[in-house]
Symmetry: C2
Subunit: 206 residues, 2 copies
């Protein structure tokens, strides 16, 4: 199909498609003349993935890293997961300067991962997230933190249990896209659940 059809089919405007082509996010079509190229179903699928990543807040740089990982996946599941995480983690303006806190290490251990084997970037993320809370003078109460750990562990266990058989293209898509694209869903569900719990606790009766 031509560029105009690709745009109609994918719902992505032509100038945006041209931008993705220039940025290398979308592979070039097959040249059919000096000024025209032909695009296929793969381009439609790819455009949908790009749009989904951008909508999920990954940004152009993050989208490129996710797509690179999809195109050239690492051979084993743990390495693939690390690459997927790195791809969807925003690179902060300033590197973490402060050392990883003992509290972050404790949380990682409580999630069942020996600190020594935890990906250093992930450990730094946890430490940074705790720092954000502490800087605001906000402490997560111990009972709430225990629920966080137990619930998040349940979520991750269910997610990983469902990864298709190792090495398949399906597994790669699942890990890479599932990691990035499920975040908005989890956060949106949390807010709805908070509204439900608040209504239950503070209902005025009557």
């Amino acid at each position: 199909m031509r560029m105009a059809e690709l745009s109609a089919e994918s719902g992505v405007p032509v100038p945006t498609i041209k931008y993705y082509l220039r940025e290398g996010l979308l592979p070039q079509g097959e040249r059919t003349s000096r000024t025209q190229a032909s695009y296929g179903r793969d381009h439609v699928r790819r455009l949908r993935v790009i749009r989904a990543l951008i909508d999920a807040g990954v940004g152009i740089t993050g989208a490129r890293k996710v797509l690179d990982t999809l195109d050239d996946p690492p051979p084993d599941a743990p390495t693939l997961l690390g690459a997927a995480h790195a791809a969807v983690t925003p690179s902060y303006d300033s590197p973490v300067s402060s050392p990883v806190s003992a509290e972050a290490e404790e949380l990682v251990e409580r999630l069942g991962l020996p600190v020594a084997t935890c990906d250093q970037e992930r450990l730094a993320d946890v430490s940074r997230a705790l720092e954000i809370l502490r800087d605001a003078g906000f402490e997560v109460p111990p009972a709430v933190m225990s629920t966080y750990l137990r619930s998040i562990k349940d979520i991750a266990t269910a997610e990983v249990a469902d990864v298709p058989a190792e090495g398949s293209e399906e597994a790669v898509r699942y890990v890479v896209l599932g990691t990035a694209l499920a975040e908005p869903l989890l956060l949106a569900l949390r807010r709805v659940a908070q509204q439900a719990a608040t209504a239950e606790r503070f209902s005025t009766g009557g």
Copy 2:
């Protein structure tokens, strides 16, 4: 204290403090001369909250909305929660054009909230998050979705159960800051937990 001490105390550079003062995020200090003002502990605390919000990715506009809610909180808990959610929700470039999906409504009901009473913005968020996944050709398997709902419900229930007695300043801080600032922690914990679960499932033994 003077501006330079406020900077040293809070760790926020003087030009940034001046920017927050101009933007109205930080209240003016008490004038002590034509060119100087004096700042107190409240300013230090406020600066820490601003930094935490910015670090959590809320942005200047979001930070302003959160601070406005802290300064002038709605009287009852459900309204407060709605204001807190609105403050920390990024405003998307394009409004939701598509109608809320039946799937989104079903998830909200499964979280224990009748669709009719669900905040429309939250419902739209869930619908949009599902759309992002669908656009990428990614479907959350039913078993994983059930775990999401159960775990997120547990998290929200624990969070709301721990909100201090209604109406207090502490309750307001808890709801407004806890909603925004715990998100990076939950997402960071999820990745660590995924690494733990992956190591467990795909360990090569030996």
